[in-house]
Amino acid sequence: MSESLLVIDGVSRHFGGVTALAEVSFSVAAGEVHALIGPNGAGKTTLIHQISGAQRPDAGRIVFSGEDLTALPMHTRVQRGMARSWQITNVFNRLTLLDNVVLAVKGRQRDWGSGFRFWQPVDDEQALIDEARGWLAEVGLGGRERTLAGSLAHGEQRQLEVVLALATKPKLLLLDEPMAGTGPEESERMVALIGKLARHVTILLVEHDMDAVFRLADRISVLVGGRLVCTGLPDEVRAHPEVRRAYLGEAA
């Protein structure tokens, strides 16, 4: 196994008296698609919040590319090369697709001067616009640049959600249920997209669609009740007795 890009080290998180995550530890290797599965309420999204910086863990560390990010805010983590998508579509509904993606491209240009430019009109910055068009074309949303994101079909919004994260050119992509609420055809398209992306970027994938998970994942970690049950290759996970009892048994 190649070296770890992301190390989750003893991460715990409580909400009042409820333990959402209890000393969860596993690592994501550079280049792999690592799936995180578990029944509803297992703490998957909570863990994504700790990794992305939307929340801070009560204990434990998040180490990314050898750097401890635990204390850093979300935008700094994004700048270090970690991008996330949301389980509930989180795009700029009242902006066009092009404006949506331009923002993501622009956010990547990290020098202080880039976003804090006060004079030059953005609409003149052709390079930005061209790149944004390229990203939209890559996921099959080409030609819809002027459409408002809020008026897209649900499946297309899920794609936009992924593109926004992708256009920040991350080293690690955190996908929180990219197929949530999509139909079979849209799911199929999303699986194909993630498969394509996996060649360039490391992915931590939270997903309920077991079919998709077993097709895409190199390794799988299973979370049950805020506790890590196991991490392993798909076949190992499939065979793991506790997983079968806690999770797959339910679904079957």
Binding site: V78, N90, V91, R94, T96, L103, F116
Partner: protein, 323 residues
């Protein structure tokens, strides 16, 4: 439906340039008709147009409903008055000082307030402004309840601000300059990022933007322009009054922004003009002008819920070809 991003339009800019040219010609026109009194009134309208514009930048583009904008307006006024009391009458010192004081205050107030959202933000900005208000009326050396009067208007190099048309032109130039700056800012990266933050803060954070820094800077820019307006209003009435700092002042400014059009570049200016003109005209006819003004506001809210400027944009957009 249109994108929520405010885009520049050549027509709108030409229209604005035309309006400014006409406004520049107003003093001689009023003199020709023997209505010099209104030059001073028009200057007052321009100053309020400036401070409402600065608030509109914070509310409409930054998405921050600040209910304490009077703090920066009043702080600018008091800075000029206090400096004059100390014998510094030059506008080239006291006006930048007024802006600097507003900027410093905005850093402090913004740094604390921006950690809150929604109604809490409204309340905390209101609380800070009221603190300044009570500070001003408690300072006997600054005139307490009566405010601090200015012995004369600021010195402005060769220009004589005591000459009403000259003062009017300086106010008009200040408004024009600020509107031009905001026009550039809103269409440059900073302004686009700001509007995107208004639309979806968590996603912007997730795209790697330091959201808090952007909002604070927006808040500070708005305050700087309010500080300049404060310097002007102190000169206008030769008085820094505690009323400038009071919450009713913040409220009036918000009403101007809402009537004119939240998030439309000229919204604040349009709102200030409409409100002050309506007030002036109605007060001529009836002592119950407040009630009549209320009816007009109701009409605006029902007929043009996004404000007068947005309503006018809509009229224009119908004439323009779509991309």
């Amino acid at each position: 439906m249109n994108s929520a991003i405010y885009r520049q339009s050549t027509r709108r800019r030409l229209l604005a340039a035309g309006v400014f040219t006409l406004l520049a010609l107003l003093p001689p026109a009023l003199q020709a008709f023997g209505q010099e009194f209104y030059i001073s009134f028009a200057a007052r309208v321009l100053i309020f147009a400036l401070v409402a514009t600065s608030l509109n930048f914070v509310v409409g583009f930054g998405g921050m409903v600040a209910f304490g904008h009077a703090a920066f307006f009043g702080a600018g006024a008091y800075t000029v008055a206090v400096l004059m009391e100390m014998g510094i009458a030059s506008a080239f010192v006291s006006w930048p000082a007024a802006i600097a004081v507003a900027v410093l205050l905005a850093h402090g107030i913004g740094f604390v307030s921006l950690r809150t959202r929604g109604v809490y933000f409204i309340m905390i900005t209101l609380a800070f402004a009221q603190m300044l208000y009570y500070l001003a009326i408690s300072m006997k050396t600054w005139g307490g309840d009566d405010g601090l009067s200015l012995a004369t208007r600021s010195g402005f190099g060769p220009l004589d601000l005591k000459h009403d048309p000259t003062f009017y032109w300086v106010a008009l130039a200040s408004l024009g300059l600020c509107l031009y700056l905001l026009d550039r800012i809103t269409h440059a990266r900073f302004g686009r990022v700001l509007q995107a933050i208004r639309e979806n803060e968590s996603r912007m954070e997730g795209l790697g933007y330091p959201v808090l820094g952007y909002k604070l800077l927006c808040f500070v820019i708005g305050a700087a322009m309010a500080g300049l307006a404060g310097a002007l209003i102190a000169n206008h009435g030769q008085l820094a009054s505690p009323n400038l700092l009071q919450w009713t002042q913040s409220g009036t400014l918000l009403v101007m922004v809402i009537v004119g059009g939240v998030g439309a570049l000229y919204g604040g200016a349009v709102g200030a003009v409409v409100l002050l003109l309506a007030e002036e005209v109605l007060a001529h006819y009836t002592t119950h002008w407040h009630a009549a003004l209320g009816l007009i506001l109701l009409l605006v809210v029902f007929r043009a819920p996004k404000g007068i400027a947005a309503w006018v944009h809509g009229l224009f957009a119908r004439g323009e070809k779509h991309e």
